[in-house]
């Protein structure tokens, strides 16, 4: 496609800022919360991460699509982002595993994007003004009056208070078997993992370690969970405001009361926080990237983590605290984000439960935190005996 024949596109923010570029992926219009992600690799994983549902994702890395798309790296069954913003989209994919170009994939999956804008200027704006509602309008829609587009964005739904986990969750339960991931022996343990937007790598990390994983829908009941007779219970990452997840919070409280070992990731961390009685709040522009330093207070070591969260748990970072719901006993913040001291992990001291706000399954991202899966397995085995 030559420069002069490309189709126009415009990104509009709710505060009236407008960025003009050209169309990427499918042409049309889309609305969502504009957030930026700073990972330099892993766009395919990002696009297929259900936690991005409802969001227009801005990639700060300028070149996107270089390695095309393959059938191995997707983190779920489809692309979830509401829209996609890049600076320089690849004209050609080059990688031995590449099966098609990203542009083709976006068009196939009806994802509307924009390319050629000053993504750094946009990122700086989101950093100082905070994540906000936005829309991408391309093709004929790009020619509509700006005022009209801004109005449309302003009328769209806020991320705060938005309930999305159920909409991305699977319809029916399925099982991930260790033997399919190179585990030759009998499974060590069985867990039930509630899919609130689970990434494919999470059950895989368990399975590789000999754990059978029953992935169940977001609205699964306690009885259904108990029917699997699990050694442990897991809640995944997912999109939306944790304050809307009352059903999951109630469910988790019942599980905790039963002293079933629990591990949560991301949204699962926020649900543990809420189940213990803490609040959650929206971060100004969130943590989205694969270079985020987190201190494990137990070992004093720093791990480089993959993160994707717009909300965080409001708990005291220093020392031990009694959970607001006192029957769960004492807790401590086990992991802290070193960039801004945000709670990145919680550990219960009196019941077998812990969770982290970041992504130890790390797809995309570094594998520094994979030890958490082992920690959870140890916790389950201890409780088994």
């Amino acid at each position: 496609m030559s420069h002069s024949t490309s189709s126009p596109a415009v990104l509009v923010l709710e505060d009236g800022k407008v960025f003009r570029g050209t169309s990427y992926g499918k042409t049309g219009s889309t609305l969502g919360e504009a957030v930026f992600s700073t990972g330099m690799t892993g766009y395919q994983e990002t696009l297929t991460d259900p936690s991005y549902a409802g969001q227009i994702v801005v990639q700060t890395a300028p070149h996107i699509g270089n390695t095309g798309v393959n059938s191995e790296d997707a983190e779920s069954r489809k692309i979830w982002v509401a829209g996609y913003v890049v600076r320089d989209a690849a004209r050609r994919a080059s990688n031995w595993r590449s099966e098609r170009t990203l542009d083709e994939e976006l068009i196939d999956q009806n994802i509307i994007g924009i390319q050629g804008i000053d993504t750094r200027a946009l990122t700086r704006h989101l950093r100082s003004a905070g994540s906000m509602r936005s829309g991408i309008f391309s093709g004929d829609d790009a020619r509509r009056p700006e005022a009209e587009l801004i109005e449309e964005v302003k009328n769209s739904e806020q991320m705060k208070g938005r309930k999305l986990a159920e909409s991305v969750s699977v319809d029916s339960a399925f099982v991930v078997e260790p033997k399919d991931f190179g585990w030759a022996e009998e499974p060590k343990a069985t867990i039930v993992a509630v899919d609130l937007g689970i990434k494919a790598m999470t059950p895989q990390r368990f399975a590789e370690r000999g754990v059978r994983v029953h992935v169940v829908p977001a609205d699964t009941t306690l009885e259904e969970i108990q029917s699997y007779n699990p050694d442990g219970f897991f809640m995944s990452n997912g999109p939306g405001d944790p304050a809307t997840a009352d059903a999951q919070v109630d469910l988790l409280r019942s599980v905790l009361k039963n002293k079933t070992p629990f591990f949560g990731i991301c949204f699962g961390n926020q649900i543990l926080g809420r189940a213990l009685g803490f609040g959650t709040y929206k971060l100004p522009f969130g943590h989205r990237g694969i270079n985020q330093p987190v201190l494990d207070k137990l070992t004093g070591k720093v791990e480089i983590t993959a993160q994707n969260h717009g909300f965080a748990v409001d708990a005291p970072v220093e020392g031990k605290t009694t959970a607001p719901i006192a029957e769960f006993g004492e807790i401590e913040v086990s992991h802290v984000g070193l960039n801004d001291q945000v709670v990145e992990g919680i550990r219960c001291l009196d019941i077998p439960a812990f969770s982290v706000q970041y992504h130890p399954e790390a797809a995309a991202g570094p594998h520094d935190s994979a030890y958490l899966f082992d920690r959870f397995i140890d916790l389950m085995l201890e409780n088994k005996n």
Binding site: A61, T67, S94, N95, W96, P293, G300, I304, D340
Partner: protein
């Protein structure tokens, strides 16, 4: 955990002279290290033989030893200074090797000194190929597969497993004898068959070839708590087979998925842990098979390296600085990120731009060398550029090289099919030209697939070249320049000059149109975090994007234009002057702005100047930076006299564009360059220059040469570093020169000077403020005139010049500085022949010798020059203590220690297509890459130190080979006699032997090459076998003997035997050998030297 309290004094080992593969980047890392140690209150001791570095400035350490980096010398320093620890990881392989030697010699144990930042086991594991293979395996990685065989059947069986092509390496043979690449069974029979014969153990190693694979590098940091981070990933544009230093490289890696990238990261972290890198930086190189993704670990360096400097500049993460803190016991999470201030260093930088590094070569200096790029590094410098995409960064990097034709040309070549195929064929061999050939082939219609097959360059990169070609075509098709097309082309890095070529306009007009349309770059910030956090460090690069990030400043700034990529003739010495200017001007309260594109340098460290613009030094790019400064608070003026020729050549154009030039005016610069006008200055002052003339044809050249008399020095006009310069002894050779000199044409005449035989050459650096002059230093060359001053050893103070000559030199310097109209630094070359003082040339700018003079005399000349540029007078500078009040370079007391500058030459890197090293003969064309200083009380030991520091340690016993031209025979005898008395055995050839015999010196006569009988050992054989300890060989100028001399010198270069090619150098060497035998070395710090000078000044007062 805070830093260790038991480390109160630390010895840092530097990297010595600039050589190919180990250059200015270690000054950058060393300077950072010293600053950290000082800030931490540690007593800092430094050893580094290279005076041209910032790190050897006396204020950066408590005791600075400009001494040879050898275990013997370091032991003396340890004995004197008693450091608690040695930090050896910031001085390249030189420092690591020194640390290993100190350990092996038991010196570390003897003085109870600890190594910090590395341990011996880790260093050895990185070095030992077999041991490292084990490391890689334990780390879950793979090395290139290899099999050891003892017979052809075994070899054939191994071939089935390894596949062709295959590297064949016979075991235990010297210098890679018998190794080669086998592409098929026939090759294998030939190479392995012979290899089994060659090998004393009948053993051959067969290794799978990874040529053509994708190549990557990760820059890592580890702290003592085992926290590991990847600072930067780097991808090579050129596939495996070209040394990383000679490759175009890109950061971040652009053609890996996250899974593949994380696999490299996992292996790298495991390798670091397995090797046991204590704390600090290290890098790991990987190869990836492009069709399968198989990963092979190539090597690891457990230290700060050239690529760490690149990674630091590319990401804003200061690796050397942080490595130093880690070595003191800090952990990564305890160290704040300078740029964001709020976040810690325990993170991995993320980039929202692309960085491209391109190498700069100097093959034109070595016409006999084979320009094929191999796994032996040959580039002498590099340029880096940042852009918001690959095309922008690549094009900026290419034009940063400042070489004719370094930027792409988009004029479509009219090639027939066979010509195109020929071009494609050429790209199969990597050379400096390959990227241009590839782009031209694509322009001429070759497909990406064809070019991928030929070169192995990733199709994504090839497509980016196609994109550039397409943009150029759109511009050409459009025919006019409107805002839309200009923005589009600029977005992909096209310069005004390139656009001018495409649309057939003048560059100035393109720029005028562009400015009129408001198409100008914005400046973005390097912030380590892709804008996630606010950046507090003004480290900027230009991009044709929309939002500008340069903050308003309160007062007009002063801009310093740097020297661009290092090259022979313009290297670290110029960066030294630029950095000094920035330092002193900031001290004086100015805001300084540095513009440069060389990632190896101190000047491109983000905290040297108030603001750093990492930009090409072309007129267009500099004008845009100027506009940015004007827009954000104003610009007081620009310094062009500190960065060498690169900024100097912009002076007139900048002035025409209304930019104030600080210091010497562009008119004065022109005056000094213009032969006629400069001759007038000399005449007015009653000074002489060698007779000369300008010739456009052979006839006029002959006429001039006849008039002034042979020998003459001929050169094309407008050249740097003595390019194409030659001494011609007769008419026949004059004709040959003019026939071969492609650079001489009616518009580019040849300059012909009388060559002063046996003249003493003198270099002077001075300051002038319009009324007063300060003479910085007078340097006497050891070699006679005729050797390029940059390649010549010299002494300061001069050792044989009388006070009257020095006085005449001082007066002449004053007259020239005044006549030219200098405001700041001037460098003048003189020659003295038969007691007559001749002026050879004058350069009204910072020179290569400024750092040497500053170190030798304790006066920081570049700082003074910068202040003169802002209007200070020399009288004021004396008052304020920048210049001494009662002494100058002409009045150093007679007991001042002698500083000897010696150079290092890169001949051993360059081989002819036949595989022999190129000739090491010195001449009027400069070819050295770096320098050292030897400082001692007397010339002989200072000279010996300098020789040791350049790695050509003089022998104190053994065999000397002497073979000299007839004109040198008379002057040689006395020195040969001295060596004989010292117990040396003399070996010589026919004519020289006869002369020696008549003078009572018996020598072993050895045949010259062409006279050697079949079973007789030639001199070259003796050199190769290590039987000769030092060689004295002067060229006779004739064809045959010259050929012989070449073979002798080539052999000596290969085995690292010291070679003297002039009588004066030989004389100094003999004195030094004598001194070495009689006198035990002592070491003296620069601080002690300066104290002695200060005392002398008091006496003068």
């Amino acid at each position: 955990m805070p830093r260790r309290k038991d480390l109160n004094s630390i010895l840092v080992i530097g990297s010595g002279p600039i050589v190919i593969g180990q250059a200015a980047e270690f000054d950058y890392s060393g300077t950072q290290a010293l600053r950290v140690l000082k800030e931490e209150g540690v007593r800092v001791i430094l050893v580094n033989s290279n005076p041209a570095t910032i790190m050897t400035d006396p204020e950066f350490a408590d005791a600075t030893y400009i001494e040879p980096i050898t275990p013997e010398v370091i032991e003396k320093i340890i004995a004197k200074e008693k450091p608690d620890a040695i930090l050896p990881t910031l001085g390249g392989q030189t420092a690591l090797n020194a640390a290993i030697s100190l350990d092996e010699a038991g010196i570390l144990a003897k003085y109870d000194v600890e190594l910090i930042g590395a341990n011996i086991e880790a260093i050895n594991l990185g070095e030992d190929r077999e041991a490292f293979k084990g490391v890689v395996e334990r780390a879950g990685g793979e090395s290139a597969r290899s099999i050891i065989v003892h017979s052809m059947p075994e070899a054939l069986k191994a071939a089935e497993e390894l596949g062709y092509p295959m590297v064949v390496r016979p075991s235990f043979t010297m210098g890679g004898l018998g190794s080669g690449l086998a592409y098929n069974e026939e090759d294998l029979y030939r190479i392995a068959g012979a290899g089994i014969q060659y090998s004393p153990t009948s053993e051959v190693l067969l290794e799978e070839s990874i040529l053509g694979w994708k190549e990557y590098e990760l820059e890592m940091m580890r702290d003592k708590n085992d926290n590991v981070v990847v600072v930067c990933s780097i991808e090579n544009f050129d596939p495996v087979g070209v040394h990383t230093g000679d490759s175009i490289t890109v950061a971040p890696a652009l053609t890996l998925t996250d899974r593949e990238y994380q696999r490299l990261r996992d292996i790298a972290i495991n390798v670091i842990r397995e090797v046991g890198v204590d704390t600090g930086g290290c890098n790991i190189q990987f190869a990836i098979e492009p069709d399968t993704g198989r990963v092979v670990v190539i090597e690891m360096n457990p230290r700060v390296s050239r690529s760490s400097a690149l990674a630091s500049k590319a990401t804003g993460f200061p690796i050397a600085k942080i490595a130093t803190k880690l070595s003191l016991g800090y952990t990564l999470d305890e160290i704040p990120n300078d740029i964001t201030q709020k976040t810690p260093a325990s993170f991995e930088p993320t980039l929202d731009y692309v960085v491209v590094k391109v190498p700069r070569f100097a093959f034109e200096k070595f016409p006999a060398a084979d320009p094929t790029l191999t796994t032996t590094m040959k580039s002498v410098g590099e340029a880096m550029a940042l852009g918001r995409n690959f095309t922008e960064a690549l094009q900026k990097a290419m034009r940063s090289l400042e070489q004719k034709g370094s930027a792409f040309s988009f004029i479509k070549p009219e090639l027939s099919e066979s010509e195109l195929n020929e071009l494609i064929e050429k790209t199969k061999v990597p050379t400096t030209e390959r990227i241009h050939q590839v782009q031209q082939a694509l322009l001429a219609g070759a497909t990406i697939e064809q070019m991928y097959d030929a070169t192995g360059i990733d199709p994504w990169f090839l497509d980016q070249l196609v994109l550039l070609n397409e943009v150029a075509e759109e511009v050409a098709d459009k025919g006019t320049l409107d805002e839309d097309i200009l923005r589009y082309a600029k977005r992909h890095g096209f310069s005004d000059e390139q656009l001018a070529e495409i649309v057939g306009m003048n560059e100035d007009i393109v720029r005028g149109v562009r400015h009129a349309l408001g198409v100008r770059p914005v400046f973005k910030t390097v912030d380590t975090c892709a804008a996630e956090f606010e950046a507090f460090t003004p480290y900027h690069y230009s991009s044709y994007d929309t939002e500008d990030e340069v903050a308003q400043h309160d007062k007009p700034s002063i801009m310093i234009l740097g020297s661009g990529p290092n090259r022979i003739g313009q290297g670290i010495e110029f960066d030294y002057s630029c950095v000094h200017a920035s330092m002193v001007l900031r001290e004086a309260g100015y805001e300084t702005v540095m513009v440069n594109c060389n990632p190896e340098t101190v000047s491109t460290d983000y905290d040297v100047s108030t603001r750093l613009y990492f930009e090409p030094l072309t007129l267009e790019d500099v004008l845009e930076v100027i506009e940015s400064e004007r827009r954000t608070g104003g610009l007081m003026g620009v310094f062009v006299q500190l960065g060498g020729q690169t900024p100097l050549k912009l002076a007139q154009q900048l002035k025409s564009a209304g930019v104030p030039i600080l210091g010497t005016s562009p008119e004065a610069i022109d005056l000094a360059e213009d032969r006629g006008e400069f001759a007038q200055v000399l005449e007015n002052a009653g000074l002489l220059s060698p007779k000369n003339g300008t010739a456009y044809t052979f006839d006029s050249a002959k006429k001039i040469a006849d008039e002034i008399g042979y020998p003459v020095l001929v050169r094309p006009s407008y050249v740097l570093g003595g390019r194409g310069m030659e001494i011609v002894y007769d008419e026949e050779n004059l004709a040959r020169y003019l026939e071969n000199a492609t650079e001489v044409s009616p518009s580019q005449p040849a300059l012909i000077d009388k060559f002063l035989e046996d003249a003493v050459e003198i270099d002077v650096d001075a300051l002038y403020d319009g009324t007063e002059m300060y003479l910085g230093g007078v340097m006497e060359h050891i070699e006679e005139a005729g050797i390029h001053s940059g390649d010549s050893a010299c002494t300061l103070p001069p050792i044989t010049l009388g006070t009257d000559i020095i006085q005449r030199v001082k007066e002449a310097t004053y007259e020239i500085a005044k006549g030219v109209g200098v405001r700041g630094l001037i460098n003048i070359q003189f020659a003295v022949a038969s007691d007559i003082l001749y002026v050879i040339e004058a350069n009204p700018r910072a020179s290569r010798t400024v750092p040497f003079v500053s170190k030798a005399t304790g006066v920081q000349m570049a700082k003074a020059a910068a202040l003169i540029g802002t209007g200070k007078s020399i009288a004021e500078l004396k008052q304020e203590g920048y210049l001494p009040q009662h002494m100058d370079g002409a009045s150093l007391p007679s007991d001042t220690a002698i500083a000897v500058k010696e150079v290092v030459l890169p001949f051993s890197r360059f081989r002819t297509p036949g595989g022999v090293v190129v000739d090491s003969l010195l001449g009027p064309e400069m070819r050295s890459t770096g320098e050292v200083m030897g400082l001692d009380r007397y010339l002989d030991t200072a000279f010996a130190k300098a020789q040791t520091a350049v790695g050509s340690t003089l022998p104190t016993e053994g065999k000397v080979f002497v073979s000299v031209a007839n004109r040198d025979k008379r002057n040689t005898i006395i020195y040969v006699k001295m060596l004989q008395q010292l117990g040396f055995e003399i070996v010589s050839t026919g004519g020289t032997a006869d002369v020696l015999r008549r003078n009572g010196v018996d020598s072993q006569v050895v045949a010259k090459m062409r006279e050697t009988a079949e079973d007789e050992k030639s001199i070259v054989d003796m050199i190769n076998d290590g039987e000769i300890n030092i060689i004295f060989n002067t060229p006779s100028g004739g064809g045959e003997a010259r050929g012989d001399g070449y073979q002798i010198r080539a052999a000596a270069t290969s085995v690292g035997c010291p070679v003297m090619t002039t009588v004066s150098e030989f004389g100094s060497a003999v004195q030094a050998i004598n001194a070495l035998r009689e006198y035990s070395w002592s070491v003296m710090s620069l601080q002690e030297h300066e104290q002695n000078l200060a005392k002398a000044q008091e006496v003068n007062a």
